[in-house]
Symmetry: C2
Subunit: 238 residues, 2 copies
Amino acid sequence: MAGTGTRGRRERLRAETTAEIKSVALELMASGGPGAITLRAIAREMGMTANAIYGYFATRDDLVTTLINDVYTSLANAVDAAWDAAPAKDPADRIRAWAHAFRGWALANPEGFRLIYGDPVPGYIAPEDGAAPDAAQRVCTGLTALAAAAWPHAEHLYADSDFQWSDFDAGLLGKVRPAFPDLPPAAVALALRIWGHLHGLVSLEIYGHLGTQTMSPDKLFHEELTQLVRSLGIAPKA
Amino acid sequence: MAGTGTRGRRERLRAETTAEIKSVALELMASGGPGAITLRAIAREMGMTANAIYGYFATRDDLVTTLINDVYTSLANAVDAAWDAAPAKDPADRIRAWAHAFRGWALANPEGFRLIYGDPVPGYIAPEDGAAPDAAQRVCTGLTALAAAAWPHAEHLYADSDFQWSDFDAGLLGKVRPAFPDLPPAAVALALRIWGHLHGLVSLEIYGHLGTQTMSPDKLFHEELTQLVRSLGIAPKA
DNA sequence: TGCGAAAACTATACGGCGTGAAGTTTCTGC
DNA sequence: GCAGAAACTTCACGCCGTATAGTTTTCGCA
């Protein structure tokens, strides 16, 4: 009995230290950008030696990967929650809610956005599996739900496109097709296009390229959503 | 006479060395990403000491700034050339040419794209003036020309939007308004939106986020252009 | 033509980085 | 109580940017 208790204690301490490392790393990223994530800085902040961290993460890239996983999951949670919270009966509102959640999360976590979608740290190479790709697929699945909501209105726009299922990643389709059995491949293309549109505007804004051209990125994004909803054939809300 | 000749010689040598530094830096960037741009690596490649480079660039950030200026100018030249080469009488073709030039340049110079639109090197802070912002405005001006070409067809979509001139950067307007005197503020918003759309798709592709979802980014981008031209009210080419 | 100055470059050094190897302390389970 | 594992430190290496001081090459002018 005491044995399992003490083993639990050690594991708990380990988990706490791991959490603290990640938390400190996120703080450093928030204050100094992804480039500020250094093992030595983290260790300094925690009163340890840099090498002590190697007991928790095999390499700095491993730590970054874990952070990306956490951050991407947080983004996926945010947009999923917004989608679920919006009334299902109004596709336009749901789309707007999703998009605003996406941009809102990015503006609230600009360094996280950079970590996910930009160059995180020089030389870092993202692994092909793990929580981050899963979260990316959750985001894409959410986008497809968005496209599915609009598809009855937008279908005619894709009458002469020729997308095949083989144009898309099997992993993504494995989640999407069971959820939306009636959706054609072109609807996935629409989802990716919408992703591109939103990502582009938010990305330009986060990286400061939009701020040098317009004073009202808010208004521009709002206009984007208005036009998006309209182009999907859903009547805009009054 | 000999004096001016020899002075010219020294200046020429200096210019050649400067050019070689930039060229080597671009090679390093192409092979190892923006993070591979290190003074020591450049010097090693050139058979010099790292400190010798300080005679040409005050700091590494200065070198990076110069590279960004060059690269951004090259992008602006590419899209401008494509625009000028396309027949003026067909707005749809011109828009497609511009967009394909944009994506083509990005795919041909992915590291350059990252250098311009991503985090170049950790801790680097871009200056507010110089050739790069100028090139950015050239790109935006080109985009506005694109929006202007489509405006007669697209105007009705913006009937109930409320953009003001004060929503946009004075520097940009200084170039845009004289060139297109009849264009309303909403057309600039349209230009920025188009920029966002194209940038988003290309950015996702360059950073590898699109490749994990679709096997045919080409097809997706082509579809984007088809829908873009259609949404602008220009009849798509058969 | 020769000399003082300026420009180009090297040598050395400092602190920060990721990381590997080896040693030390602390805790755990039998 | 003690073997062993886990946590952590110390030391080391090579990389980076960059500041300072010293050296060599080149130039302009008398």
